[in-house]
Amino acid sequence: MMEIQSMKELIEACHREKKSIGEIMLMMEAEKSGKDEGTIISMMEERLIKMKEAVDSGIKDASTAPSGISGGDAVKMSEYVHQGKSLSGDYISNAMSFSLATSESNARMGVIVATPTAGAAGILPGVLFSLHKNDGTPYHELVKGLFTASMLGLVIANRSFISGAAGGCQAEVGSATAMAAGTIVELKGGTPQQVVNATAIAMKSLLGLVCDPVGGLVEVPCIKRNVIGTSIAFSAADMSLAGVKSRIPCDEVIEAMYKVGKDMPRTLRETALGGLAMTETGKEVKERLFCRKS
């Protein structure tokens, strides 16, 4: 049975099997689970549909989250983009709106798909549905992209971590952004090496980012970090497709992320005891929320 433990092994497997990264994931999943590929693809389609539903409901929902500290920004952003005012171009602007929509739904305890976590659930749907809107990438291609993303995520998760509590935001938004960058490259016809390059470039850009949620809620600054993650994903993908390489190989970047996460103090790993959570305003929010709850 095929086991992939590094990006290097992944690229070798792609060359050996003459398959894309997404196709390698599908083949491995079928081998391990005993399910046929059609069933696995249907399961992934179900996830894409749930992602689309979260975007569609979030983009027109101006209500605030139960905490009162998030909500309504997806509506603002999409109106602004619709008026043609955005400076970032269509791909990034739409991704920003869709990402906001998903992360705001998450904060309302709505149904979302963890990609790879709920705190980072806005990034992949943001870039995927932006590709669909701007260049007509069909839904079945987006499903293939989810296999690419999950293969990249599996390598990262098994070599390092993907949750803010374990390794800081670099592990959470960082991993999701890295997965999204690689996925864009594969959907745009890049080689496995280019996919992995984009993954490395994106992850490097978020290395060291701490997890400091205000009041311990997955809202401030998490939602906006998802939005910014989509722009980093597109920038990293563009660099890689232009032929720019990561000077540090992706496996070493992942290892660096792991070591930085291990060195990160507990106060900066989702405990809400440091960073933005402990600013004057952050503390006020926490007090207000916990007073109201008790």
Partner: protein, 170 residues
């Protein structure tokens, strides 16, 4: 390798806001529900480290109680799990600690749950991305991997308590 499947990364389909502090915890609760064959009438829940610090914001308490009531990660009733527990007459108590003596992980809980004459003490960690691991059942170290798509009744069946013999565990 803890993460095995593409659906460990893309998924679970879940109610927000956190895969580690909400979804993964629903799974730990659901496993205990399957272990007892029903929801517990009494339960004592210890949250450690990050769970202890941030459970309110993430609905970790609602997630665990929801799982103990038999709910899945995408069940929109999780929001109201504490009210549901009261309706069912479930008595629950939460305690908060910094470090767990059995395992070094920020997202750790130990749950003692009782139904009739059956009692279980279960330790679980939420690994991130909705994936969890049961590491302790009645003072015995185990390693049972929980992914939201798995059938927990099959995973739990070898460990089901056999009645009064385990009452000492509480």
């Amino acid at each position: 390798m803890e993460f095995q499947s593409c659906f460990d990364i893309i998924g679970p389909i879940m109610v927000g806001p956190s895969s580690s502090h909400t979804a993964g915890v629903v799974s730990i609760g659901k496993f205990i529900y399957e272990l007892l064959g029903d929801y517990p009438q009494e339960t004592n829940i210890v949250f450690y480290d990050s769970f202890a610090e941030t459970y309110q914001g993430h609905g970790t308490d609602k997630a665990l109680i929801g799982g103990l009531l038999g709910m899945d990660t995408d069940d929109s009733r999780i929001k109201y799990a504490l009210e549901k527990a009261k309706e069912c007459g479930m008595q629950y108590q939460f305690e908060f600690e910094n470090d767990c003596e059995y395992i070094d992980h920020p997202n750790t809980t130990i749950v003692t749950a009782k139904r009739g004459d059956r009692v279980v003490k279960v330790g679980g960690v939420s690994l991130g991305g909705g994936l969890s691991k049961i590491f302790l059942i009645d003072d015995e170290m185990v390693a049972i991997r929980l992914s939201a798509g798995d059938d927990f009744s099959i995973l739990a069946s070898p460990y089901q308590p056999k009645g009064k013999a385990l009452v000492k565990a509480i």
